[in-house]
């Protein structure tokens, strides 16, 4: 076992560890996190090999790069000693390689003159190979961690410094490839490329697996899952989002065409999750979705607002109304919390053992207005990640389907059903959102 430095990017902090842990599970890599704090992008882990480190970060979205850790210290003197003590046996391996050094200062800056001086301090490594700024066989990096706001505080030295040998970069370039601005077909609620790809990683999308999004919209999640090789299925109660509009019709499928991933397109169909046509069987390895929470997109299911209405088919001039092409079935508003329960129940029926469910859920930042994370006896919570906005936030909640033999059957607490038929009565989050989260629940 050797120590490695994972260099994260400075975004979506609460998603970092869940993503990297998911990738370790996916690749069957034994990983131990030795030091990590959400305020720092540097994470030291123990891994079996450099090959494992490469496998781990190669398809990560929140990692920038992985380094083999040659030493750490609280000052450069300290670091030099540490490198001498810990990694001297590694130096001869790279003696003849072409190489380069770079400096990565978190919350600090170094002029090129300073950088040069710091790098020259590592002359003792005894590398003889020529320096190549491009295409070097080995890349070394001085990773510095500075105190926040150091320039103002008059701090001129970093808190800690590390020396790492570059192992592998990540899949961050894909964020640009799948950028919504360049995507041919999107809708108002399309998930941005970065978060969709992270979601696909956390849900363990991979070659040979079957994934499903029951609120597919323009297909952001299936596209992200397909990028990682999964066969991606999606359905939506709104057929227009799947079929596209107009004659030339950019649609869900055209996104797969645009990215050259049509082999990974499973299927799309029009359906309502509360009346799903999918048979009750363990069909999917992963379920990923961002259910409509009723702000931009109303949450509706099949049925009439008036439960007494429409119990008989309507027949006009001998033709059943519902068999005509122009027929649009009635829909009624539905409770977001009831839908979350339905999603969990569906996932417990449809996921293979250890298959994962990830969904996005909005919540108010006021404690008394927070929505509880839903639970199910067959589903174990794997991770909860939060993206903060001003007065509200949304959470990505991920569950694992526990094998039946391990399920502890407890009586499921019946949720108090929301009364009423209007969208506001049914969706406390929607109500709170439009009232600016002021006294919405009082």
């Amino acid at each position: 076992m050797m120590e490695y430095m994972i260099r994260f990017t400075q975004v979506h902090e609460t998603f970092r560890v869940p993503e990297i842990k998911a990738l370790a599970v996916l690749r069957g890599i034994d990983m131990e996190i030795l030091s990590y704090s959400p305020s720092s992008p540097f994470c030291v882990v123990k891994l079996p090999s450099a090959e494992a480190a490469a496998q781990l970060v190669k398809r990560s979205i929140l990692v920038k790069a992985a380094y083999e850790l040659w030493g750490s210290g609280s000052s450069y003197e300290d670091l030099h000693d540490n490198v001498r003590g810990h990694s001297e046996h590694l130096w001869p391996l790279y003696k003849k390689n072409t190489f380069r050094f770079s400096v990565d200062s978190f919350q600090g800056t170094r002029s090129t003159t300073e950088q040069k001086k710091l790098i020259e301090g590592f002359r003792f490594l005894g590398f003889e190979g020529p320096i190549r700024m491009k295409g070097a066989e080995q890349e070394f990096c001085l990773l510095e961690e500075w105190q926040f706001n150091c320039a103002k505080l008059g701090v001129y030295e970093p808190q800690s410094v590390h020396l790492g040998r570059f192992i592998c970069g990540s899949d961050r370039d894909s964020i640009n490839k799948y950028d919504l601005k360049k995507r041919k077909y999107i809708c108002t609620t399309s998930m941005d490329a970065e978060l969709a790809l992270i979601t696909a990683n956390i849900t363990l999308a991979d070659t040979g697996k079957l994934f499903y999004d029951p609120f597919v919209g323009s297909g952001s999640f299936p596209v992200a899952c397909a990028h990682f090789g999964a066969l991606a299925f999606g359905s939506d109660i709104d057929g227009r989002s799947i079929r596209g509009k107009g004659k030339s019709k950019p649609n869900l499928l055209s996104n797969f065409v645009q990215y050259g991933i049509t082999d990974q397109f499973g299927d799309s169909f029009v359906a309502d999750l509360t009346n799903t046509p999918l048979r009750k069987a363990r069909l999917f390895d992963g379920i990923v979705c961002d259910p409509p929470y009723g702000v931009r997109e109303g949450l509706k299911v099949l049925g009439s607002r008036d439960p007494t209405k429409g119990k008989e088919p309507i027949i006009r001039d001998g033709i059943a109304h519902h068999q005509m092409d122009s027929y649009v079935p009635p829909k009624k508003p539905y409770s977001f919390l009831a839908m979350l329960d339905d999603i969990l129940e569906f996932a417990s029926v449809s996921l293979v053992d250890n298959g994962r469910l990830s969904f996005w859920m909005p919540t108010s930042n006021d404690e008394d207005q927070e929505i509880k994370v839903p639970e199910h006896p067959c589903l174990e919570i794997v991770s909860i990640c939060t993206q903060d906005f001003n007065r509200w936030s949304r959470k990505l909640i991920t569950y694992r389907r526990i094998p039946d033999s391990k399920v502890v059957h407890t009586v499921r607490e019946e949720r108090v059903k929301e009364n009423g038929v209007s969208a506001d009565d049914l969706n406390p989050f929607r109500k709170g959102y439009f009232k600016g989260f002021k006294a919405a629940f009082r």
């Binding site: 079957l210 799309s268 029009v270 069987a281 088919p313 079935p329």
Partner: protein, 127 residues
């Protein structure tokens, strides 16, 4: 819609889902098209246990394909028989229903397929 997907779908009417007659849905006046998709042996091996084999057999015949063996192939069978692998790949993943209907043999409700997209929304009296 792929033949694989058809194997995952039953009638959306709740009362039908518990009856055996509602699965598989019966293709009616269906137009078929075929896409070319790169073979993916890992996928095929993974998805076979999830396929209802007798239902796949009856659908294959209904769509004009040769009848399947009575029992599903084991992963080892698949690995050793490239032709069987290719045939199943064609049937499950490449063959698509582009137009037509899918009928529930229990309640008789017809689900339309247009431009490859099936519509499972139920009229009010069936919800």
């Amino acid at each position: 819609m792929k033949v694989l997907t058809l194997n995952f779908l039953t009638c959306a009417v709740k009362a039908c889902k518990t009856t055996s007659a509602s699965f598989p849905l019966v293709p009616k006046e269906c137009e078929l098209v075929s896409d070319t998709i790169a073979p993916n042996p890992t996928l095929l091996t993974n998805l076979l246990p999830r396929v209802d084999w007798p239902a796949l057999g009856s659908i294959a015949v209904a769509l004009g394909f040769p009848s399947l063996s009575p029992l599903p192939p084991t992963p080892a069978d698949l690995e050793n028989d490239t032709k069987m692998m290719a045939d199943l790949h064609t049937l499950l993943l490449e063959t698509q229903i582009s137009e037509g209907s899918l009928v529930c043999a229990n309640c008789g409700h017809e689900y339309k397929v247009k431009e490859g997209i099936a519509n499972f929304l139920l009229p009010n009296h069936l919800v």
